[in-house]
Symmetry: C2
């Protein structure tokens, strides 16, 4: 069986053109661009909590990195470097090779260097730390929404949760939707380009990525901005037909694992946002607005105009 | 039972005076000092692999951070920010409170901000990413040793391994040594100050921190520098008396968990290093020298002048 160092070298040491000194020393050395702030995020994915132990390793490799880049996207940062620490029950080439393939496919797609990491033996656990760059003061923070802002969401929230329900046999998705929902679940696309555009063109006042469910993450944005909100269900993208529409709505509002960007923007920027959505080929949905009220509170208005009650808190690991 | 967010706030959100934006957003925001390089290290500690699940949480909190700062010390970096991701089987205040106390005691001691993190449910696993600053080009790398350099080690390697043997009942340490060995095991002191001095005064050519055992980590330094070495056992600090001297020597050379700095230095800097050892109150032992030879190779000469054979590779998680 190969040793730890051979294993790392075989699968995880790739060229690091953006890095002064990559894997192989006590630390990686990075040279930040002049005059930037760094956005740093760390996320831990645990077998049995965030994914099933028998998840396809290539998909897991992609997703492990993608969910971290989504946090950088939500700040409007340009991803630069990532670090991967992993605990593995055993070191198997036939698992590590496809995992690394998925991880580096995502790294190439978003032009980041894997600059360092750590491997050890233990229950399967993957921890990524991602570092991006931003101009000083330019970050899209959660706490900058203003009263009367429009609330927008990218893509189609709920697909990943529907994909999971499909895999679990709780629903049976019709054909083009099955593919879309499984792709959303297994190979989420961090909205890095959208985040950069929102930041560069000052089109978002506050932003967050939706990982715990739309309403749960909206709640965090509202709490930090000391505002409330109204969300109109009729404004959400239409869910797949021929499935339980209550389940579909629940997945949209509280499903989690979406990695879409939820952001607040001034009313006068509606046209520009619509134009960017076309340019990027990524739908942007104007689903409501911020209002005065109990910080974090959110009214959801159903398609028939009646208020909806739903658990807003999203997924909470120790709740 | 408190939720994830309440739990984080209660134990892990402390003032972050060095940080533009600390915990609570998608990313932390850091402003690196002008003209620096960043040294970044990530380390994962797993219950059952790196520590016993019933380890005192306060000591574990300290050590979780200390072992990462040791990597920054080995590059000569000034620690600035750390990130903590943790997977916990359950969220218990009576474990988290002392863990946080130990972690922040170490953070205060070395003036770092806990700028962000992640908590989740799962088997006990702690992952720290530490970021430090260095002048451009100033890092103490592993690959810069030169032929004929002296090899030095700080403190007293082997104590942590002896402490572990004592706890496991394999040896019985006499009294002042018991305390010293357990302290080395449970509350290791990252040699941050030494690393800064070695870097600022250009007193080390190459450096590494000793976490996997003196010979194992020396092997890494030598491999990267394409050199061999001779180590003189008689130059090591005297081990505790009244215990098996073979075990004591094995702990010194291959024990692991030392977090001392091993470095190469020019002969003409001997006096200055001896003076700094006094100034810092930290012994520095000149234990050998680099020589030409098979890269990574190391001859160990016993006190009686005969060559010693020992497993050089140290601890390897998948070996």
């Amino acid at each position: 069986m190969p040793g730890e160092f051979e294993l790392i070298a075989r699968h995880f040491v790739r060229p690091t053109p953006q890095t002064v000194l990559g894997p192989g020393d006590d630390c990686a050395l990075l040279a930040p661009s002049p005059g930037v702030e760094l956005a740093v995020s760390t996320d831990m994915l645990v077998a049995g909590t965030h994914f099933l132990p028998d998840t396809d390793p290539r998909q897991l490799g992609w997703k492990t990195l993608a969910v971290n880049l989504s946090d950088l996207a939500a700040m409007g940062a340009q991803p630069r470097w990532v670090f991967l620490a992993g605990s593995l029950p055993c070191a198997r080439d036939d698992w590590l090779a496809p995992f690394a393939e998925g991880f580096f496919a995502c790294a190439r797609e978003f032009s980041v260097d894997l600059a360092g990491g750590d491997t050890t033996r233990g229950p399967l656990n993957l921890c990524v730390t991602a570092i991006g760059e931003l101009p000083v003061g330019g970050a899209l923070r959660r706490d900058r929404a203003m009263i009367g802002d429009d609330l927008w969401i990218s893509g189609q929230p709920g697909l990943a949760a529907l994909g999971l329900a499909h895999l679990q046999g709780r629903i049976r998705l019709p054909d083009p939707w099955e593919h879309r929902c499984l792709a959303a679940l297994q190979q989420p696309q961090p909205r890095v380009q959208l985040g950069l555009i929102l930041r560069q063109h000052r089109l978002a006042r506050a932003a967050i990525d939706v990982s715990d469910g739309l309403l749960g993450d909206l709640h965090h944005l509202l709490e930090r901005s000391q505002l409330a909100a109204e969300i109109l269900v009729a404004r959400l993208p239409p869910p797949p037909p021929d499935i339980d529409q209550d389940l579909a709505l629940h997945c949209q509002l509280a499903g989690g694992d979406d990695y879409e960007l939820l952001f607040s923007a001034a009313r006068q920027d509606r046209d520009q946002l619509t134009a960017w959505a076309r340019e990027l080929g990524l739908p942007l949905w104007r689903i409501g607005r911020t209002v005065a009220g109990e910080p974090g509170g959110c009214s959801v208005i159903a398609a028939d105009g009646r208020p909806l009650t739903i658990d807003q808190r999203g997924f909470d690991h120790f709740g």
